[in-house]
C-alpha cells in the first residue's frame, strides 16, 4: 500500500481564530441544543404507521420493513450511491498496491480461520434481518471485512474473474432490485410494489443479492482500483515523501 505522510507542518492557528471559531461553534451548538430542547418530549413519529402496516410488508423487523418496503426507493438509490462511489474511485485510476514481499504469518493464519466465519456470520445477519436487527447492509459490511482481511494478506482476485464477472457481481444487487421492483409493473402494480404474500421472499432475494454486491463493492473500494486494469504507470509515481 502506498503510504502518505500523515504529519504535516500545521501551524497552530492564532488564538484569535480559535477563539472566534470556538465562540461560533458554541453558539451553533447552543442554538441547536435549544432547538432540540424545544421539541416535544414525546413524539410518535411514524411508529404507529409502521406498526400498522408491518404485516403487509413481508418482514417483521420494522427497520427492514422501512428500508426494503415502505421506503425501498431510498434504499435502491443508496445502492446506486455505493456503486457510484466505486465508479468514481475506479475513474481516479487508483494508486497501485505495492506487492509486499512479507506476509505476516499470524495474519495469514487468522484470515484463513476468520474468512469462512465472517461469510457464515454475514449469511446469518442477512437472514435475521427479517425479524430482528440485521439486514443486507450489516451483512454486506461483514462480508467486506472478510475481503479486506484477504487483501491485507496480499490475496489477489484471479484474473479471469476480475473483469466482467466482477463487474456483474457489483451491479447485481441494484439490477435485481430494479428488475423485481419493476417486474410487477407489468402485473398492474406500481414500481417497487410487491404482492404482500410474496413480499417476504422477494425482500430476502433482493437482500441476498444486495449483500453480495455491497460486500464486494466495499472490499473493492478498499482495494481502490479496477483489478482488471494493470496499474497505470503514469499515476503510480511511487513518490514517497
Amino acid at each position: 500500500m502506498r503510504k502518505i505522510k500523515l504529519k504535516i507542518l500545521e501551524k497552530k492557528p492564532s488564538l484569535f481564530t480559535r477563539l472566534t471559531l470556538g465562540i461560533l461553534m458554541f453558539l451553533l451548538a447552543a442554538s441547536l441544543a435549544y432547538a432540540v430542547w424545544s421539541l416535544p418530549t414525546q413524539a410518535l413519529g411514524l411508529s404507529a404507521e409502521v406498526a400498522k402496516n408491518v404485516e403487509m410488508s413481508g418482514v417483521s423487523n420494522p427497520v427492514t420493513a422501512v428500508l426494503l418496503n415502505y421506503r425501498s426507493y431510498d434504499t435502491l438509490l443508496e445502492l446506486g450511491v455505493l456503486l457510484l462511489a466505486l465508479f468514481g474511485v475506479w475513474s481516479l485510476g487508483g494508486v497501485s498496491a505495492n506487492k509486499s514481499s512479507f506476509v505476516n504469518p499470524i495474519l495469514d493464519f487468522l484470515s484463513r480461520f476468520l474468512v469462512p466465519v465472517f461469510i457464515l456470520f454475514s449469511g446469518y445477519l442477512l437472514w435475521v434481518g427479517g425479524f430482528a436487527p440485521g439486514g443486507a447492509f450489516q451483512a454486506g459490511a461483514v462480508l467486506a471485512a472478510a475481503g479486506v482481511l484477504l487483501f491485507l494478506n496480499d490475496w489477489q482476485l484471479e484474473r479471469k474473474y476480475s473483469g466482467f464477472s466482477l463487474r456483474f457481481v457489483l451491479v447485481l444487487g441494484l439490477v435485481l432490485f430494479v428488475a423485481i421492483g419493476f417486474g410487477f409493473v407489468f402485473l398492474d402494480r406500481v414500481f417497487l410494489e410487491y404482492p404482500p404474500q410474496l413480499a417476504g421472499g422477494l425482500i430476502l432475494l433482493i437482500e441476498a443479492a444486495a449483500t453480495l454486491s455491497i460486500g464486494i463493492s466495499l472490499a473493492a473500494l478498499f482495494l481502490g482500483r479496477d483489478p482488471s486494469v494493470k496499474s497505470d504507470s503514469k499515476i503510480d509515481t511511487g513518490v514517497h515523501k
Binding site: I8, L39, G45
Partner: protein, 102 residues
Amino acid sequence: MTPAFLYALVGIVLFSIGLYGLILYKHLLRKILAINILGSGVFLVMVALAARTGDAVPDAVPHAMVITGIVVAVSATALALALMLRVDAETGQAVLPEDREE
C-alpha cells in the same frame, strides 16, 4: 432530561466538533475524519430523538434513514480517501493548495 435528549446533545456536540475540525485542520485525512464526525453527530441526533415514542420500541423510520445515511457517508468517504491519495500523489502532500504552508 431524558436519555433521548442527552444522546441528541452528544450528537450536537459531535456536529460542532466535526465542523470545528473541518475548518481548522489542514491535512485532508483529518478533514475527512472531521466530516465523518460531523455526519455521525447528525445521525446520532436523528436516531436519539427517535426514542421519544414513550414505549420500548423506537420509531423505525429514522433508523432506516440513518442506515441509508451511513451507506451514503461510507461511499462518500471512500471517494474522498481515494481522492486524497491522488492529491498526495499529484502534489506530494495531502493538503489543499489554499492550506499549504511553505
